[in-house]
């Protein structure tokens, strides 16, 4: 059983909703990325989504765009990200890590080379935002190497595609809670609860819900009907400008702890 599957099985057995924080690798400080990952786990993360910086993040809002720009300006590339995951794995063999990003850095790195290096580093899954189901034949070497391919589903996804996505889901299915970019503010939980319930009933993997989750209240509302909650922009925004490892850890703790508490009170 993969690390991701094992983690979701344990959450289900415990009757808990999963907490999946997203951070951009290399932001706010490249040298503290590994410390940041450990801090996320210490504050209650069940799985880490680690963003691979890309110069043209079409699906991201300004917060994650700027985090990417800051990381790229400091020279962060895919090889650094893989190195940090390997470093993280020396002290944490249980927390699943999913790399989230765009196709071009992987394409340029080489699919087979990336797959082998990612598995060796201890990466568990990959979510490539601009690689929908129809284009995913290029990702065959990733699956062959043992990486789980995390897929997005959206409110605009047509019924026939949704059936395909549910059928082919592995690791978890990431439901984008509204049609927009990351970090946007509006979120109506009642609108999406029914759809998520329907997807959960059909998907071959747990369903995580993200986009628009900002605090304990919105996280708790989503945890009522999802297997896990993804929090990205609000966390990245909170970390901006933190330069020292202890400051980063303190901000992570302050931000995630109330969310963790709210999820567990569910």
């Amino acid at each position: 059983m993969s690390r991701i599957d094992a983690r979701f099985a344990a959450l289900k057995a415990a009757g808990r909703a999963g907490l999946i924080p997203f951070v951009t690798a290399g932001d706010p400080a490249p040298q503290h990325t590994v410390a940041l990952m450990h801090a996320l786990v210490a504050a209650g993360a069940d799985l880490i989504e680690l963003g691979v910086p890309f110069s043209d993040p079409m699906a991201d809002g300004p917060v994650i765009q700027h985090a990417s720009e800051r990381a790229i300006a400091r020279g962060v590339g895919l090889a650094d990200v893989l190195g940090w995951v390997a470093e993280f794995r020396k002290r944490d063999v249980d927390t699943p890590v999913v790399l989230m990003g765009y196709l071009n850095p992987v394409e340029i790195h080489g699919y087979a080379r990336f797959a082998n290096e990612a598995v060796a580093a201890g990466v568990d899954g990959v979510l490539l935002v601009d690689c929908p189901l129809e284009e995913s034949s290029v990702l065959a070497p990733l699956r062959a190497a043992g990486l789980q391919l995390i897929r997005l589903a959206a409110p605009t996804t047509a019924p026939a595609r949704m059936a395909q996505l549910c059928e082919s889901a592995e690791g978890f299915l990431y439901y984008v809670s509204f049609a927009g970019i990351t970090g946007a503010a509006h979120l109506s939980t009642t609108d999406i609860a029914a759809r998520v319930a329907d997807i959960r009933a059909r998907a071959r993997a747990p369903v995580a819900v993200g986009f628009g989750v900002r605090d304990a209240q919105s996280a708790k509302a989503i945890a009522a009907f999802a297997d896990a909650v993804v929090i990205g922009s609000a966390l990245v925004e909170r970390l901006e400008g933190a330069g020292q490892a202890d400051e980063i850890a303190a901000r992570v703790q302050a931000f995630l702890t109330p969310i963790r508490v709210a999820l567990d009170a569910h």
């Binding site: 079409m58 700027h66 590339g77 850095p105 601009d130 929908p132 997005l152 409110p155 996804t157 047509a158």
Partner: protein, 413 residues
């Protein structure tokens, strides 16, 4: 626009260059739909609407009417006799897209897409623009059809294309400065895509070049292909034969594919795209994705891109904002790999020299983008005998560039 052939699911004869893209929007290894899940449904809706309209005789009649009476088509082919004599080689013929309404080929596409938008019932149009020509062309058709128009433009480009920014505002469009990334065309495209994802219910995104996810590369090509259809017929009518070589500038590649497409199955016609070599290909400061880039994925399609070894898209340089783009339409990538078209670099200096030569010898101020094509036409003409024929797409007029040129030459206007 004549009725196009039904798209084959699997082009059976790859040497038939008119058979592409396939049903998945791929041109060989290039093209496709590399977008986030949220965009798959709107793209499917657009592809279905366009597939229906492109076969609809009423739509084709409507489009042809607009192209004739609003755009001013057909545009002439003009024999640049004095320029040809100065160069001393083959005859240089100019396809005068600069004479279109709004002064460039861009209007061919926006007239078409705006009609599609109206048929789809979308009241709001968004567009990205580099030099501002596509923004102006979008604002123009939006005004004519009574649609709301928002144009995304990099703040660097806003600075160097002030006149076009003001033209868009006069036409009633809102111009939104984009300050992320390199603050140029590629970032404007990212931002327009984000707007579309968020407002897809009432918004139609008019992409200005033959890039982006399927069906855009096909649709934008189809609307610009009127250039080559006219030109090929004009050549046969006026010169009794096809040209020996055709050339056009390539940024995203819409005017080039517009000219090239009708000639792709004419093996005797040499096809050469002129990319912006900026300060020279060796300098690293250029925008020549095909001549100096590598296959990658950008803005929804697989194509040639300029990027570093980490896959980060490069910041490009060209004197012309309209060519300053690190990707290129996937059909050009396909034509390059298939060996059907050549893509070469033309430097800022060569383009400027061609601009001045054309202005002084023929009384035509070409756009800086088009000046790259003129420079390439001059090179091709030198290689051919005097009775040779080189057809060059003069894709736009240069009024928008006079400030850039004055500044470069140290003149205060």
């Amino acid at each position: 626009m004549s009725a196009p052939p039904i798209l084959p699911a699997h082009p059976s004869a790859p040497q038939d260059f008119h058979a592409w893209p396939d049903a998945h929007g791929r041109f060989g290894d290039f093209g496709g739909q590399y977008v986030a899940e949220t965009l798959m449904a709107p793209l499917a809706e657009l592809a279905a609407a366009y597939e229906r309209l492109r076969r609809d005789p009423a739509f084709i009649t409507e489009l042809d009417h607009d192209l004739k009476h609003y755009v001013g088509r057909p545009s002439p082919i003009y024999h640049a006799q004095r320029l040809s004599a100065l160069v001393g080689g083959a005859r240089i013929l100019l396809k005068r897209e600069d004479l279109n309404h709004t002064g460039a080929h861009k209007i061919n596409n926006t007239v078409g897409q705006a009609l599609v938008a109206r048929h789809m019932g979308k009241p709001r149009i968004i567009a990205e623009t580099g030099a501002g020509q596509h923004g102006v062309a979008s604002a123009t058709v939006a005004a004519r059809l009574g649609l709301k128009c928002v144009v995304y433009m990099g703040s660097t480009d806003i600075e160097r294309q002030k006149i076009n920014v003001y033209r868009m505002k006069l036409l009633g469009a809102e111009v939104v400065p984009v300050t992320s990334g390199s603050k140029t065309l590629k970032d404007a495209l990212n931002e327009a895509m984000r707007d579309w994802v968020t407002n897809v219910a009432d918004t139609f995104y008019i992409i200005g070049t033959v890039a982006g996810p399927h069906p855009y590369p096909m649709m934008v090509r189809d609307f610009n292909a009127v250039v080559g259809r006219e030109a090929r017929a004009q050549m046969l009518e006026q010169y009794g034969r096809l040209p020996d070589a055709i050339t056009a500038c390539v940024g995203g590649g819409s005017n080039a594919i517009g000219l090239f497409h009708e000639f792709l199955n004419d093996p005797g016609v040499r096809i050469v795209g002129a990319e912006a070599a900026g300060h020279g290909l060796a300098s690293g400061q250029h925008a020549a994705s095909l001549a100096a880039g590598r296959p990658g994925v950008l803005h929804g399609n697989r194509t040639y891109v300029l990027c570093d070894d980490n896959g980060q898209i490069a910041e490009t340089h060209s004197i012309s904002a309209g060519l300053d783009y690190p990707g290129v339409g996937p059909e050009h990538a396909f034509l390059k790999d298939a060996g059907r078209a050549e893509y070469v670099g033309v430097t800022d200096d060569e383009a400027m020299e061609a601009f001045h030569l054309l202005a002084r010898s023929e009384g035509i101020l070409a756009a800086l983008e088009s000046s790259h094509a003129v420079a390439q036409a001059m090179k091709l003409a030198r290689e051919l005998p005097k009775d040779g024929l080189v057809l060059c797409n003069l894709s736009g007029r240069g009024d928008k560039d006079v400030h850039t040129i004055a500044e470069r030459e140290g003149v205060t206007v």
